[in-house]
Symmetry: C2
Subunit: 468 residues, 2 copies
Amino acid sequence: VDLHLDRLPPVRPGANLADALRAAFRDGRLAAESSLPSTRALAADLGLARGTVTAAYGQLAAEGYLVVRQGASTRVAVITRTQLAAPGPVARPAGPHPRWPVRWSLMPGQPDVSAFPRDVWLPAVRRVLARVPSADLGYPEPMGHPVLRRALAGYLGRTRGVVTTPGQVVVGSGFTALLGLWCGALHHRGITSVAFEDPSLPHLRSTAVSAGLAVVGVPVDDDGARVDLINAPAVVLTPAHQYPLGVTLSPARRAELSRQAVAGDVAVLEDDYDGEFRFDRAAVGAVQALAPGQVGYAGTASKVLAPGLRLAWLALPERQVGPLRDRMLATGASAPPVLDQLALADLLESGAYDRQVRRARARYRARRDAVLDAVAPYSDLVVPGGIAAGLHMHLRVVSSSTEAAIAAAARRHGLGIDLLGRHRLLESDDPETRPPGLLVGYAAPPDHAFAPALAALIRVLNDLRCPR
Amino acid sequence: VDLHLDRLPPVRPGANLADALRAAFRDGRLAAESSLPSTRALAADLGLARGTVTAAYGQLAAEGYLVVRQGASTRVAVITRTQLAAPGPVARPAGPHPRWPVRWSLMPGQPDVSAFPRDVWLPAVRRVLARVPSADLGYPEPMGHPVLRRALAGYLGRTRGVVTTPGQVVVGSGFTALLGLWCGALHHRGITSVAFEDPSLPHLRSTAVSAGLAVVGVPVDDDGARVDLINAPAVVLTPAHQYPLGVTLSPARRAELSRQAVAGDVAVLEDDYDGEFRFDRAAVGAVQALAPGQVGYAGTASKVLAPGLRLAWLALPERQVGPLRDRMLATGASAPPVLDQLALADLLESGAYDRQVRRARARYRARRDAVLDAVAPYSDLVVPGGIAAGLHMHLRVVSSSTEAAIAAAARRHGLGIDLLGRHRLLESDDPETRPPGLLVGYAAPPDHAFAPALAALIRVLNDLRCPR
């Protein structure tokens, strides 16, 4: 197979080959079904190391752009020629829901708030106050300040491969509020139901119900959501790191999702609640880029900075922007405070946000490794599920322990921990179809509390091995 | 008439007699219908200047606690013995709605954002960052940070006579968002309609409609809203300074409103959007204090600091607190960012907020006087309506000019100005029942733009006198 190099933008050594290929797929220079050269041949043609090309192909296959088959040439997937305009917002995990008095907490959904960079935030506010025009202190544009929308469009394209423009970015006061508006806009358009992954966060499903929509479930297996079973005109998904199971949407499913979204005019909301935190490899790019006319992307500063900032964003398909704005005006919802928006833009543009991501990623990776080490001797009871990513770990229960028994043990040891059962659409105790699970949030405890919290978890596992 | 002085808390010279009397009315030490001594007698008994007592009586009469009749003794009104728990939030004027290209703007609804105290805000943020516990940077309590709720309860009691506790204060992202939640909570409770003053702000009525309520009107005359004509189980009012007409709710109407609210279990929302800005006397206290079990109070930092901060608050009747919180959780609405909440609390507690109020009040009073001087020679065309307060003035049109003619003249001179007609529930051109009016917002223009804007207004009035 030979690839006409003029179909690719110039790729210099060290530049991002994956980005160049993505752009070529999107604008049609590399057509669906066309074969790509072998990694060895392309590396030679471009003067790149072969490992660089292999990594780029692997990344693009994981994102659904490429189809890799053993013994056959790598091909461009059928899905990549899509419109350049896509659907609505995405979901974030909730804060802790303690159900018993806790001494130590491994509740998921919280980042390490003690790592909030106070020494970076204050100078950003100072710079903002020094230069913001007074007129910007009036009633804000509901969709967000143009400076932040521009900074976010750049950041999302660069770090998550999101295909968007500043005009399609909406800034909001937390993901849940944006989800409520997105659902409200669907309802206003006459849509009556929305699908959520089963399991998923109950409070996000409630938000959809409050907005007037019926919620249906989409089963999740080891390849992520069963996108072939989406039975609604709209769906909220967590493709990069399924919440709470921790799996990632497989390349085939990503391709199938975008094909189906375009063919069936399904409004997809990609909740990228912890997309910055992949530990074993570069993060898989957003599904949104495969069908930007159908898929809306949602992100948040809650995990990288702090939930208390109340800053989240959507990158919407163009045709959804006006209806969402109408919904904001109708309900009185507004953009976050202008000074906070501009301080976040300052962090994004100065690179301080990226530095914070890297610091937090190293920290959470080490935390995750510590949990893995601690639970390894208990593989007869629990087995880690999902990929090396995020702020929480799903522990599959492989013994006969029930969630009720786990909760009782956790209560005995004063440990705050979450359980899988409450995330299911239909609660059930049938261990065949609904295997029990523990959700361990390892990000939030301050350093001094992490080791004791892990020790409490081990005491819980010991109790399960030797029931009282 | 003799007043047993032991019915009053100790009142020292210089202390606030009105506060002491209010407390005595509320806890029943001064019963309804009882007579008060003459101002001369009470002044002698308490060792106060007679002017102090006269001012206190006048204030309390304006607030509906006292009934003053010529030639008869001053009596405690029937209304003052009420429960200590009241209903929902209140409304704020919108930002500008330019309808033609403007060179100069006197659109109401905006404060002077160039007066935002940047040099006060930054040190407050610095102090907050230095002392806020990390745990407070997590997902915030939806009703607001306890420190701000405490600071607001104190401020509102002190400056507006609001009877509340920190637990009844709700902090929100702007008044309109809080109004939407308040209406949503009513709807959830089975209430189907809400009354608004006619005229009032259209976007606030739309918010109620979006929350599922039907909107009915309450006529407004020179004594404020015709509270005897409230024909709904809930009502949103602007008692201190009716928006847009600028009149104040008369003492008799205040008493009637609270009597009726208690008797008919009407949920009242008192929108105190500019309550800090009375120029001719001390501001009339909140109606909320007359029936705190029925009347919710709403205020905002948008006029004193800047709308871009997105900080507003409610002081709710106790029984409405839980339902509003449920509504916030259901819709994904949340409290404003924690750092902003704490910075506002810092300003309230340090006195910086009060200083800002005084500075702005002096500034807006001078602006209003300038408008009065400018329009005085045109009293054959327009007559100022309402009280000396706030950030806008209502000019009644006493000539045969229509609003269409005024709009045409304003467009000719590139002047942004608002008109009364669009604030009515039913738009109509019948000048008998719907006299035309201009709404002049004098607060927003920066200094260099105020004189030219006034000059443009005068050119508009000249055009109306001599139609082309």
